[in-house]
Symmetry: C2
Subunit: 96 residues, 2 copies
């Protein structure tokens, strides 16, 4: 499994996660369209596809294939590694 931190390093990939967080089970074309419309990100289909590959390898996005469609779903579980690696200590107020 690839590097989750490196996967998060790119702003377009974070926008993809934002979009999938709002709406699950989107296809590549849906993600592309919505990135352009709502997130002001103008990336080609191939570019977004490559970004999704990285997110998938990091375990942040899961894919279900159905016919000629590929539905993408966010998985926030791997993000916990970050919070658990450097937990807030003592006086710094903790998570909600």
């Amino acid at each position: 499994m690839a590097d989750i931190y490196r996967a998060l390093a790119d702003p377009t990939r974070r926008a993809v996660l934002d979009e999938l967080y709002e709406r699950d089970r989107q296809t590549l074309f849906e993600i592309c369209g919505r990135l352009t419309m709502k997130h002001g990100v103008a990336s080609s289909r191939q570019a977004v596809s490559q970004h999704i590959d990285v997110l998938e390898e990091a375990g942040l996005v899961r894919v279900e294939r159905e016919g000629r469609y590929r539905f993408h779903t966010i998985d926030t579980a791997p993000l916990r590694e970050i919070a658990e690696r450097w937990p807030a200590r003592g006086r710094e107020d903790g998570p909600t």
Copy 2:
């Protein structure tokens, strides 16, 4: 303030955070030595210095100058942005 995600993207920078998480107020030379000894990271002083610059710009490391020493301290507060951007939802089990 620079990109916290990009700051975390490099494994050496994460090792620096690990080290500072274990022990606060370390100088550059201390960090270099401990990175080599305990984390198996062999980076030059200049390389580590540049990494620390990135961490500092991301707000993850704070610096106190005293005489000819610079003491570095981790600040985990900016990490909360990540957990708050894509909070775990519904059935996915939450943090401890």
